[in-house]
Each structure stands twice: as C-alpha cells, then as structure tokens.
Symmetry: C2
Subunit: 421 residues, 2 copies
C-alpha cells in the first residue's frame, strides 16, 4: 500500500488500476478508505489498497474572510434580526465535505447582501450559534426575550429569526405561545443547503422572510421554499409548520391548514385568514412560564406499557402520538388510568400527522377519553408537546389544564377542518 500524506481539504490526484481521479479529500470515518469529493459533487470512497499512487495538487488552507462594515439604511423599513445558528449560518467545510458554522457576525450579512436592500437591520442579536437539534426550552426562552425587546421598539416593524431546520417547528411553536398579544410579525427562516452551495435556498428564504417581517401579519410564522423551485416561499403558521423532508428545500409543510401566504422577494400574497398588525390593542406580553417536566411518546405496536411508569415518575404530563384517530393498545388502559388518577396529564395526538384525533369512533379511544386522556383534535404532536410544557408551567392553570390545552392560543387548532374530508 502506498503511503498517502493527505489532509482533509487537500485537492489531490490518485492513480488507480484503470483510471486517474482528481478530487478533494474529505474526513473519512474509516481509516482504510479514502473519501474523495469529485468535481461532479459526488463523494466516493476508495479502498486505500487500490490506490497505486497519489499526490497533492493544491494544499488546503482556510480562506481569509473579508468583513464588510454594516451601515444602517434608514430609508428602508426597520426590522430586528436574531441569528441562532443552523445551516443558514454555516458554510461548506473543506475538511469534512459537510458544513460548519460561520464564526463572525458580519460574515452572515456578507453572505446575504440582498437582504439589506429590503430592510434596515436596526437591531441584531446572536444569543448563541447552535445547530437546532441542540436547542432546549432555555434557548426558546432566550430567543423570545430578544424578540420581545425588539418588538417593543416602535421603529421595528417585525423580527426575523434565522434558525436550523431540525427543531425549527418546536421553536416556532414555543414562540407562538410565549409571545402574547402579538401585533407584529415574527418570522422564522432557515436553509437546507448552506449559502456557498449552488443549490442553496438560503438567500431566497431570507429575502422572503424580510418581506414577511414588514407585512401586515401579526403572527409567528415560518418562511421557506414553497417547492423545490427557487421562485417563492410559503409563510406557515408557527404552530402548524412541520419538517417533512430531510434534504429538500421545501422541507416545511403546513399541516391541517393552508399556508398563510405566498411570499416573493418583492411582495406578499395572503391566501388564508391571519391576525393583522394592530388588530390587538393590548401590549405585547412575554409569557415564558414553562416546565420541562413533559415528554413526547410515539406509540408502536407491542410497546410495553410499563414505559408509562418511567414517565409518570419523572414528568407532570405526556403527549402520546397514537395511531390513527388516537388509538393505542388496549393493554395500556389500566396503567394510564392509574397514572392519570395520580395526577399525570395525558394528551393524545396522531402519528399520522395529517388529520384529527377523535375519541368518538372506536371503543378504546372512548374509554381513554373517559379515563381523562385529553384528545387534542388536529394539533401537531410537536406543537402539543411544547404547549403542554407551557400550560403546565402556569401554576394558576392547575385545575384548568384540559380547558387550556383545548383553548386556541395561536392557531394550533384548526376549527374549520372538516373531520370528514
């Protein structure tokens, strides 16, 4: 075996038995395999034993980043921008072939110059830079606090929050509940592909988010590609947005509700009802009463109900993702009844994602409901999980948990969905 003195990021030429290959060395999980990114964009793994010779054509070095000066453009409408990390704030990593976070604030804006032709970024906050699978309720609260401060500024028309996609649905739901009496737009946006890739969705998403943030809509929304075309975005209600594809640019779908609006770089077209700017005459309130003593459990066939004993010990409430209309194995009934009696709050949603749950069609569900399981109609399981933590975080609502779980705080319940579609 020839000795290959390569480092990740190096551009190399390899001689194999039948051909020569040029490409960039990537970090490989297997020391016997050389992982190479070809010009075509594809990655291939080559058994090192099959490499007859190899040499470095260009050594890898981090590029220097030039930082521009950010100036206020006061002729444009003002917004606040909260950057939290994620792919939208990342760039391709030469050493791994994956992506890595950007490290300078202004680098973010360098990547998105078009944004600065739509809005004036009056306030910019970067509370943390993380990939969103690492978010917790503490992060949701921190984002909400920054948003509150920005929204209280009379000059600021709306707030844009850039966020990783992986847990964005949960964060958007959290802010939908935390920001009471909202009277300006709060717009989450994201990227599925980092900005330095040809197929990046980041720039269109961010421009459309800016357009939405100065629009007439006083809700928490998620703005991102409406299809895999790079033409316009949807604005989806924060409590109804779910990531339904791991890699496509139109990753988020509006579940059990139409999107609120189509959004282009230069205009917004509303396509369903929404809360309007200035409709709410009360002052914005930040209500981050939240308990982490809640869990989300996806039911599966044959699942041992003794998992409920584990959850009942550690949590105040659980959201079950049942089957279909909200069913679980009937063998779960005795334990559920016991734990509910002892104070555990149990809510039911559906793993079908689309459609409502209902306790009125099948006998097990009727019995579950009689035992005190709260059937959450068409609320998304993820939104239900966040809402339960928020409702149980309010000491004063202790005797009214069911009522509060079924109160429509932020469009999480679509009353107009026909059960019989």
């Amino acid at each position: 075996m020839v000795e290959l003195n390569f480092h990740p990021g190096d551009y190399v030429r390899l001689r194999l038995a039948l051909e020569e290959i040029d490409g960039q060395v990537l970090e490989s999980p297997d020391s016997g395999i050389l992982l190479i990114k070809l010009k075509s964009g594809y990655n291939i793994g080559i058994n090192k034993e099959n490499i007859l010779a190899g040499r470095v054509i260009k050594k890898y070095s981090e590029e220097e980043i030039k930082l521009p000066k950010r100036e206020e453009r006061k002729e444009l409408p003002s917004v606040g921008l909260i950057i939290t990390g994620g792919t939208i704030a990342s760039k391709a990593s030469q050493s791994t072939g994956g992506v890595k976070p950007i490290t300078h604030v202004d680098e973010f804006l360098t990547y998105y110059p078009e944004l600065l032709n739509i809005v004036n970024i009056k306030k910019l906050e970067i509370p943390f830079m993380i990939f969103s699978e690492n978010m917790t309720s503490e992060h949701w609260i921190k984002i909400a606090e920054h948003a509150k401060k920005m929204l209280d500024d009379n000059d600021i028309k709306g707030v844009i929050i850039s966020h990783g996609t992986d847990s964005l649905g949960y964060s958007a739901a959290a802010l939908s509940f935390f920001l009471r009496n909202l009277n300006k737009p709060v717009v989450f946006t994201y990227a599925q592909r980092s900005i330095d890739r040809a197929s990046s969705d980041a720039s269109l998403n961010l421009q459309c988010a800016a357009r939405m943030a100065i629009s007439d809509c006083a809700e928490v929304v998620v703005v991102g590609h409406a299809s895999s075309n790079d033409d316009f975005c949807y604005a989806i209600r924060g409590t109804k947005a779910r990531k339904l594809h791991s890699s496509r640019r139109d990753a988020f779908k509006s579940v059990n509700a139409k999107p609120i609006a189509k959004v282009w770089k230069d205009r917004v077209e509303f396509i369903s009802d929404y809360k309007k700017r200035g409709e709410n005459k009360n002052n914005l309130e930040l209500d981050t009463n939240y308990t982490d003593k809640v869990a989300l459990i996806k039911f599966y066939p044959g699942q041992d109900p003794s998992i409920l004993d584990y959850y009942a010990l550690k949590y105040k409430g659980i959201v079950i993702e049942g089957c279909g209309l909200g069913q679980i194995n009937e063998s779960w009934l005795p334990k559920l009844k016991k734990h509910i009696k002892n104070g555990l709050v149990v809510c039911m949603t559906s793993q079908t994602i689309f459609g409502k749950v209902s306790p009125y069609v099948y006998s097990t569900a009727r019995e579950l409901e009689r035992a005190g399981v709260i059937y959450l109609e068409d609320i998304l399981a993820e939104t239900a999980f966040v809402k339960l933590g928020w409702v149980l975080g309010h000491y004063g609502w202790k005797t009214r948990v069911k009522e509060k779980m079924l109160e429509n705080f932020a469009g999480e319940l679509s009353n107009r969905i026909e059960f019989e579609e």
Copy 2:
C-alpha cells in the same frame, strides 16, 4: 330539567327553546350532555338543562343479519383471504355512533358481493378479529403462517389480507421480511370508513386488492384509495407504506418511492419496478425469527438522555427517529457510546419521514456514526423498527447486524433516491 328516558340508538325528537331537533341518541361521555347524531351526519351535544321536552320516535333494536351461503366459483382465479379485523370488518354501531366489529364470517362477504365476481375465495381464515392498534408481533407471525399455507397451494394465485389501518404499515413491513422468496402477491387492504357508510372506501379497496392478488407482482403490497375520489387505488410496497392521515380515504402514502401500480377494479397498471411472479425460483420460506426486545424512540428537543439507560436495560436494539438527516442533541453522545459499547444496537432514521438520513453532513451525526450508530438511509422508522426485531431475532446474524440492517431484503431501501433532490 325534564326526565329523558332515552337509550343509545333511539331516534328521538327534542324541543328546545327556539327549535325542534330530530336525531339519534349516541353514548355520551358526560351525563349532563345529550349527544345526538343529526340527519346531516353531524353530532351535536346539547346540555340537558336546555331541553324542554323530548320523546322517542323509534326505539333502537339490533337488526337481524341474514347470512348467505358461500359457494366456490371455480371459473374465477383462486385466492386466499385472511380477515383480521379493523374497520373493513366493522359496521356502524347505533348505540355509540362509532363502529364495532362484525361478528360472523359470512357477514364480511355479504358486505362485499362484488369481490366474488373477481376471484374465487378458495381459502378463508380469520385468525383473530381485532382493531389493529392491538396487534403485536405474535399477530404478525400468525398472519404470516396462514399466508404461507395459502401461498403453498398451487391453485391459489395470491393472498388478500384485510386489516385495520392503524398499524397496517408495521404488519405489511413484518410480512415483507417474514415471507422469503415470495413468488406470488400478498395484498393488504383496509377501510377508513365502515362499509355501511355512504362514504365507505371498503368496497373499492377490496376489489382492487383482489385484482392485485391475481396480478403479476410477487411482493407484499398495501392497496387502497389513491386519492379521496372513489376511482382507483395505489399498490404501495409493504415496506414503504405509511398512514399519513387519520381519516381520509387515501390514508396511505408511498414514502421515498413511487407506488408500484395503479389498480382499478378491472385492471392493474404498473408504474414502477417490481418483483415478478415466478421470477424467484426458490421455494417460499417462512422466516419468523423475531425478537420483541426492540424499541422505537422519537427524539424531541430537550429530551433527557437518561431514557437510554431505561432502554438499554430492557432491549437489544433501538431505532431512533432523529431530526432531519439523523441528528439528536449532542448531550446524548456519551450515553449512546457507553451503551453501544455494551452491546446495544442503535439505528438512526428521520422523523421527517421523507428523505434519507446521512451521517456525512453535520458533525454530531459523524460522531454518532463513528460511535457505531447505524444510519438507515431512507428506511421508514416503522419499517426499521420491525426489521431490527427481525434481524436481531436471527441468532446467526449476531456479528452482522449492521450489514443485515443495510441489506435490501424487501425494497425497504430505495437506492435510486438522489440525496440531492
């Protein structure tokens, strides 16, 4: 308050302050509320205090069921039929407004006379009659055993299995793995609405299932409405079928793959590749080696990783539904590493349902993969859960679990999906 001597199922007339209402009394979870099914099909709840008077127009009584004689129709192609319960084998319950199982075998066929014009039901088995949320691996094995016996009969062209929708995806996946060297069709079908309702999908589904069961396709498939129109069905590969709506008739979607075929009552049009009848020259084998020591865990933000200690104690393997490309909170890494070292098998799928997982884009996933987490490409989480129980059920595969999890046994891996769509 007037005294109302009503029983569930009674057809009654109520006098309220401003109007009179006719309808059928339903079982009510709340003794203060009278639940009424109106002629329009809608249910309303009326506070008993608001009822000024009421009388029974027609008392409820169970109708008599006439049982027909079933005769073999030998001029038609023969199939086997396995009835397992679910809504397709249920009818509306007058007393609850929901549905209840039918109680006689022949009643099933009375409801579906058109079926008997397409196929001759040479063998009929009813191993149990349950709603599918109550299915476990024991039920999957029993169904597979009956299917095997039927498929071994040279006269029988294929097998139809009628099944509840709630866990149908899991059962279809199980049979896809249990029936090795399949050379005839095994067709699951279902109903979202019981046969005695105007909007029932049962009859079309069952006729199309029969058509598919005598077709050229030697795979386990799920046949059901392609849209909410009552015109044709899709045949979806058993490992790729997921229930994605709690009530619509087109509840099942083909995930990360095109459906295999469009199916009408009178013909089948194949629209993607499939295994053909007779292609496999080996004998059908029943391989029901299965262990229940597996679990499915949906990750959510802030989830306490100590749940892993619970699972590691009780199970041999777990399937995680991670975020996006297969991410979880980085705080899970130490516990995962420890348990994998001690022998726990950990597989990764995505809660986005659509798209692949990949450990090559983000750093946490790279580290998870290095720690031994098996990234299952585009396998559905539910299919992965069933497959893991089957793979770990094979003692002889103990050292080859990763290889076997990534071997394409029944179309569960779609190799041709482009990661970059």
